[in-house]
């Protein structure tokens, strides 16, 4: 629970979740930023102005219809609290920012983990990209996993085997 351990519940997540109709069109950014941290790199990083913020200390609002799923905000978020989700072509995929040294390779099988690091499924690494962030000297690795469709709101981490 957020106010106990900082981890959102499924209820918290589902309160602000893209529609199936939007997810079928392809990647869309969702954030799990629930605190009034004074922070705005996500807003600045968005090339299509899909992320807005009333003021520095309010959580961001993502316009799912404007969002093109480019992933710039995922790479720029200091809290690693933005993910991309997609249901395009019948395949459920989640894109996770990953800052560990042992970056997996495309095609690798990994364990899909929930928000407490518990294994909930097997997952295939569908894509690994390095995106520039606002920090010009350091790029951020984004790993996209193909996961079971019903776990789209659940899988937010992975472990290599």
């Amino acid at each position: 629970m957020l106010n106990v351990d900082g981890v959102p519940t499924l209820d918290d997540v589902m309160r602000n979740f893209p529609s199936e109709e939007r997810l079928i069109k392809g990647f869309v950014a969702v954030h799990e930023c629930y605190q009034d941290i004074p922070c705005n790199p996500c807003v600045e990083s968005c090339p299509v102005h899909a992320i807005s913020m009333e003021k520095l200390t309010t959580p961001p609002v993502i316009d799912f219809n404007k969002c093109t799923g480019c992933g710039n905000c995922v790479a720029s978020c200091p809290g690693l609290a933005i993910f991309l989700l997609s249901l395009k072509n019948g395949s459920a995929q989640v894109t996770i920012p990953y800052e560990m040294m042992d970056v997996p390779e495309k095609g690798e099988k990994v364990d899909g983990l929930d928000r407490y690091g518990r294994k909930v499924c097997e997952a295939d690494v569908a894509r690994v990209v390095k995106l520039p962030s606002l920090d010009k000297t350091s790029r951020t690795t984004l790993v996209t996993l193909e996961i079971p469709r019903e776990l789209l709101p659940v899988v937010r981490s992975f472990r290599r085997r």
Partner: protein
């Protein structure tokens, strides 16, 4: 004797910004730091910083340190004295700085003190056994010197320092057994920092304290237990953790020795981390030639330390008679208050109010 208009003590985010704004105003600045490298705590931070994107947010801490140090080193009005610790301050505005080899005397019309903070320790059985260390010490060894001081870590304290350390240890390939906290909920870390560590499988164990560490020559095991309502350990809830390092992230306290030596009035303000020099929003202390910025004036974070440093540098230069655009000071003050509109700043604001209130009593 080195003569300077403004001496800035401490080369972290507050000190580097103070040096820059004072120098930009025309003052000759001497920036002294006891370490060989500028950056303070920023150099240990691998995460991208929160805050305004146009004020460096989104940039990793060690890169922010590099950017600021490059500006400091490029400024013709700033001289740096690295590897020297200011250990004495006297009523005639002279100071003594010592290195391991020698010492120098400094005469400074104004001093901006940005000495930061020291880590707190807690009591438990065998807490002097090698392997028990401050979280900041682990970060220094790991991130500055490239030495991982252990294989398996127990972290005590779930504020930002504790959970960020857990994350950095995972990045360095170490095992993090758990982050524990005596509180019934997360001890002040940003939720997002705590969430990113837990989803990598590090358990956060709340209402739990360290009873002791055991081992023949260094830590081989730590024992923790749950605490009851009265904060006393509950028998039968012990857990044995096979770890070789117990990292303490149980809070920071401002480094105020120099202020006390310089006859600055200090106040005990728990919300700000302990004894702090009384100061106003411009960084004035009760000594007209001594200013404060950053964690030395109260534990907060790097963005507010930077803003406070920029303000104190401008104010010190202005009070030496250099032309300073008043709007710049006001702009930094506005930025500071909009940053502190967050509920996360509530405790700090209460502390500041209490500190200033005490002065009127």
């Amino acid at each position: 004797m080195i003569f300077t208009d403004v001496m800035v003590i401490g080369g972290g985010p507050a000190g580097m910004n103070a040096a820059l704004t004072a120098a930009e105003s025309g003052a000759q600045v001497l920036l002294v730091d006891k370490f060989q490298k500028l950056g303070g705590q920023l150099v240990k931070q691998t995460h991208k910083f929160f805050g305004w994107a146009d004020r460096g947010a989104g940039t990793r801490g060690f890169n922010l340190a590099k950017q600021l140090a490059a500006q400091v080193n490029a400024h013709p009005n700033i001289k740096t004295l690295l590897g020297y610790e200011v250990i004495g301050g006297y009523p005639d505005q002279t100071y003594l700085a010592a290195s391991w080899e020698d010492h120098v005397k400094i005469s400074a019309k104004k001093a901006v003190i940005c000495t930061g903070a020291a880590e707190r320790m807690i009591l438990f059985e065998n807490n002097d056994l090698p392997g028990v260390m401050g979280a900041g010490a682990v970060q220094t060894l790991m991130n500055e010197y490239g030495v991982l001081p252990g294989e398996s870590f127990l972290i005590v304290g779930s504020g930002n320092v504790g959970v960020i350390l857990a994350y950095q240890l995972l990045q360095a390939g170490a095992h993090v057994d758990a982050v524990i906290d005596v509180l019934p909920k997360l001890g002040g870390a940003y939720w997002v920092h705590a969430a990113k560590v837990q989803r990598l499988g590090v358990p956060l164990l709340l209402r739990r304290t360290v009873l002791g560490v055991y081992g023949t020559e260094h830590v081989e095991e730590a024992v923790t237990a749950e605490v009851g309502e009265n904060m006393e350990p509950v028998a039968g809830t012990e857990m044995h953790h096979k770890v070789d390092v117990v990292a303490l992230a149980v809070g920071l306290m401002p480094l105020t020795d120099l202020f006390q030596m310089l006859q600055v009035r200090t106040e005990y303000i728990p919300e700000l981390g302990g004894f702090v020099p009384w100061h106003d929003e411009l960084g004035h202390t009760t000594n007209p030639n001594v200013y404060v910025a950053g964690d030395a004036g109260g534990i907060e974070e790097a963005t507010t330390a930077s803003l406070g440093g920029s303000i104190a540098g401008l104010v010190a230069a202005k009070e030496l008679g250099f032309p300073v655009d008043e709007n710049r000071i006001q702009e930094y003050l506005r930025a500071l208050s909009s940053f502190r509109e967050s509920s996360l700043s509530k405790k700090v604001l209460e502390g500041i109010e209490r500190m200033r209130g005490d002065s009127n009593a």
